[in-house]
């Protein structure tokens, strides 16, 4: 019951978040100086042509009517038409969002799969050389700019060694999989196209590593500090006194408890990854939302920018909802308190 109540409450919150985000983005888009109609028409166009475009796009309407029209569309799942590409925003986002989400999820998988064991090892061997190495790696990860790291790995793995591709999602000669989930790794497997799967895997390795490296440091540090805290607790001493082995205590007692706060960090990291993929996508020519949004901002294409903000905030809230649900599964006390 508590579970359902929380989901209901969160879904109501989601509605408010989407409304708030759409309003703030709309307000900011219209506060920025510049005229999207002029950008479309070109600098050389006469005022008559610019005015004609304003009318075509409804930009000559009062702002509250423009916003009302947008909300009306939003209620029916219509995110409007991009000023820049003249295509429906939803159609554009459908083309770009799965690529960003796939990259972010693989990056998160990489960050978690390496960050958790490294954090555990670092805590267990506190102040030992291995701890120093992990801590240095974590700080390096957090402080390395993604574009620099991206270029570095491209130069080494693509330019010098020729092991991995320098950009894109799949080899040019191969046909991209028919969009089922929009994730190439999954779609190619579902279609049984081994060559395309290997190609998609090769293409995602470097950008996912680059994007995930920052969060690898964050996760490792978080796990380390949570583990250190847990390892000081009385129940650990009791477990040890009961004769449980060192690693048994660490993996079966301390780690599950240390994971609870880490789930929040990992959940928030996905939000960061969705927003923060822009630079990585640019360096790796990854056809995600990054370049689309940057170009849209430069073109004052506010339906596209608002569409992006709404979709990402929607995803962010859903991820947080999942995190809270995981909390309840991991720690039944939370469910009881609720």
């Amino acid at each position: 019951m508590a579970f359902l109540r929380m989901i209901k409450k969160r879904l109501l919150g989601l509605l408010l978040v989407v409304l708030g985000v759409s309003f703030i983005t709309f307000a900011i888009s219209h506060l920025i100086p510049g005229d999207p109609a002029r950008l479309i028409a070109g600098d050389k166009a006469s005022e008559e042509i610019v005015q004609n475009i304003r009318e075509q796009l409804g930009l000559n309407q009062p702002l509250y009517i423009q916003y009302g029209t947008y909300l009306k569309g939003l209620a029916t799942g219509d995110l409007g038409t991009s000023i820049r590409t003249t295509r429906p925003v939803l159609e554009d986002l459908k083309a770009f969002f799965p690529a960003t989400l796939e990259l972010s999820l693989v990056a998160l998988l990489f960050a978690s799969a390496l960050g958790i064991p490294l954090g555990v090892i670092s805590a267990v061997y506190k102040d030992k050389p291995i701890d120093q190495v992990v801590r240095t790696l974590a700080v390096t990860g957090i402080s390395t700019p993604a574009f620099w790291l991206g270029l570095g790995v491209i130069v080494v793995f693509y330019g010098k060694l020729g092991l991995l591709p320098g950009g894109g999602r799949i080899d040019e000669g191969l046909t991209p999989p028919a969009a089922m989930t929009g994730f190439y790794l999954i779609d190619t497997l579902l279609q049984g196209d081994k060559a395309a799967f290997v190609s998609a895997l090769k293409h995602i390795l470097l950008p996912a590593f680059t994007l995930g490296f920052v969060h690898l440091g964050v996760v490792a540090r978080q796990i380390r500090s949570a583990m250190l805290e847990q390892l000081q607790e009385d129940y650990i001493r009791t477990a040890k006194a009961n004769g449980t082995s060192k690693w048994g205590v660490i993996l079966h007692h301390a780690l599950p408890n240390a994971l609870i706060p880490s789930v929040t960090v990992i959940g928030l990291a996905l939000g960061d990854l969705l927003y923060g993929a822009v630079l990585t996508e640019t360096v790796f020519a990854w056809p995600g939302m990054g370049a689309y949004v940057v170009n849209s901002i430069q073109a004052l294409d506010f339906p596209a920018v608002m569409g992006f903000a709404v979709v990402v905030s929607f995803a962010y809230v859903i991820v947080n909802l999942i995190v809270d649900m995981l909390y309840m599964l991991i720690d039944p006390r939370i469910s009881e308190v609720s």
């Binding site: 005229d35 002029r38 028409a41 600098d43 320098g166």
Partner: protein
């Protein structure tokens, strides 16, 4: 002791499995085919940005024209002479044309056997439909054409244009991307929005797929009536980062790479198998001097700025020599260019003398620019330094590009900077746009220059059909505007592109930057 514990044994086994799995994956990746050079018959072009829209009635962006220009034909095209693109024109869909003595009526006869990519014939009706569609859309491309122009079908293969007043650049505007002839049947069936994401023309190539943000694939139009292209496929790859484009060109994954970092071009050209081709372009960079108000309304102050500009220093230092100083408003390569026109050069003594005799002495000027072009800031700094030495303080304002345009549009600046490239091959694009007082503001006359004599000369030049007479009038007007320093005429920049050495036959056309003649280019 510890090693024999079940948990540790389990962990050891897991690690072993992980190690094996990663070894298998690595082996698979390494042993897979090397990241090969592009296939024979396929030309891969690397560009910085995805096209925005492919509709020729809407796009004004050369970046989109890479795809649209070879997919459509127009009545007229630019001539290629001796392997080089020119600003002269010849028939493309048209086999010939006639115009009335007053230049108000133009009749074009279509070549026989021209077909769209669905096999249907290109008719005079399709020409009428395309022009009316473009004019009705009323977007950027329609700016080049008189809005009250009438298009009529005289016969199935003859189309007539009627203008209400003489407009001498008319013939040249027909080679513009906006004058592309679209297949009416496709537009009517699929809806007008269809052309934003697909092509429906009669050009040598047609778009077969577009993976948004990733790549576009063009293949020859099987019904194209002209010479069949030697390339079997053209892939346009979207690679946002310049360094990544460079690496892919050097590794052979790209055959052509646009927008390479200027400071790296010299080292790129030294790489084996890569050439960097440079072509004089008609894209110019110039300073707007606000003629309307403030210190710049004094002609002596404008002349002083023109003498206080370090042209050769900017060209050598900022552009690494890849540009040429302008000689007035009409750039070299455009007909009407005057090789004898007066050219300012850095002369601080003269500049000082002019400042002392002007109302701008001791003034503080603002210089507005944006980061849209990385060269603008160093040019602004150079101007600030030279004028500072003469006692004129220059305040640099680096603005968002949209804000800068708005400031220029309102005339709210003293000095500003911009680039300009012509939409059709006619000096009208420079002389009428830049100096006619009716075009004041962002659309053209950004210096707010106003001289009734010049107005008369450029308007007269735009109404005549005789090119010699027009050249005379434009050069006469140019003398005045150089003397009055309406703008600071800085430089025309070279267009540079990276090519693999086995790519031959690229004929750059200064009117068509970012457009590749893929119908005649070959890969050896």
């Amino acid at each position: 002791m510890t090693a024999s514990h079940p948990v540790i044994r389990k962990m050891t086994t897991t690690f072993k499995l992980c190690a094996m799995a990663s070894a298998i994956v690595s082996a698979g990746l390494i042993s897979s085919q090397a990241l090969a050079a592009t296939p024979a018959g396929t030309l891969v072009i690397g560009k910085a940005a995805d096209p925005q829209t492919l509709d020729p009635a809407i796009t004004i962006d050369n970046n989109d024209w890479t795809v649209t220009y070879p997919a459509y034909q127009r009545l007229i095209r630019y001539k290629v002479v001796g392997g080089k693109g020119t600003t002269q024109v010849e028939g493309d869909l048209a086999s010939g044309w006639t115009s009335s003595a007053d230049g108000l009526t133009w009749e074009f006869k279509l070549k026989k056997g021209q077909k769209f990519d669905d096999g249907s014939a290109v008719t005079a009706d399709a020409v009428k439909y395309s022009f009316e569609r473009m004019l009705k859309a009323g977007q950027g491309p329609s700016e080049a054409f008189p809005s009250d122009m009438k298009v009529d079908v005289s016969s199935p293969d003859t189309v007539k244009f009627t203008l209400t007043k003489p407009y001498s650049p008319f013939l040249y505007t027909l080679a513009n991307n906006g004058a592309s002839i679209v297949n009416p049947a496709v537009v009517e069936k699929q809806g007008t929005a269809y052309l934003a994401k697909a092509t429906a023309g009669s050009g040598p190539f047609r778009l077969v797929s577009w993976q948004k943000g990733q790549s576009l694939i063009l293949e020859p139009n099987p019904y194209y009536a002209g010479t069949k292209p030697s390339l079997k496929q053209v892939v346009v790859k979207i690679i946002g980062d310049a360094s990544s484009r460079r690496l892919q060109l050097e590794n052979g994954d790209l055959d052509v790479a646009e927008d390479l970092p200027e400071d790296q071009l010299a080292s790129i050209s030294k790489k084996p198998g890569v050439t960097v081709a440079a072509f004089p372009s008609l894209r110019v960079t110039y300073l707007y001097l606000n003629n309307k108000k403030g210190p710049m309304s004094d002609v002596n102050m404008r002349r002083a700025i023109s003498y206080a500009t370090d042209y050769s220093g900017i060209i050598k230092g900022v552009l690494k020599g890849n540009a040429k100083q302008m000689r007035g408003a009409i750039p070299e390569g455009m007909w009407g260019f005057d090789p004898k026109a007066m050219q300012y050069s850095l002369n601080l003594a003269k500049a000082k003398q002019l400042i002392d005799g002007s109302t701008g002495k001791g003034a503080t000027l603002n210089f507005v620019y944006s980061s849209k072009d990385p060269n603008w800031e160093p040019i602004a700094i150079s101007t600030q330094a030279t004028l500072g030495a003469l006692g004129v303080k220059v305040k640099l304002e680096n603005l968002a590009n949209a804000t800068m345009r708005e400031r220029v549009g309102k005339g709210d600046y003293d000095i500003a900077i911009g680039n300009w490239s012509p939409d059709f091959a006619d000096p009208y694009m420079f002389m009428n746009y830049w100096f006619d007082s009716e075009k004041e503001g962002l659309p053209g006359n950004r210096s707010y220059y106003n001289n009734p004599t010049v107005d008369k000369l450029v308007r007269q030049a735009a109404s005549l059909t005789d090119q010699k007479e027009r050249t005379k009038l434009y050069q006469q007007a140019q003398k005045i505007v150089i003397n009055e320093a309406g703008y600071v005429y800085l430089f025309q920049k070279n267009y540079q592109v990276g090519l693999r050495a086995n790519v031959k036959g690229f004929a750059f056309n200064p009117m068509l930057e970012s457009v590749f003649n893929i119908d005649t280019m070959v890969k050896r």
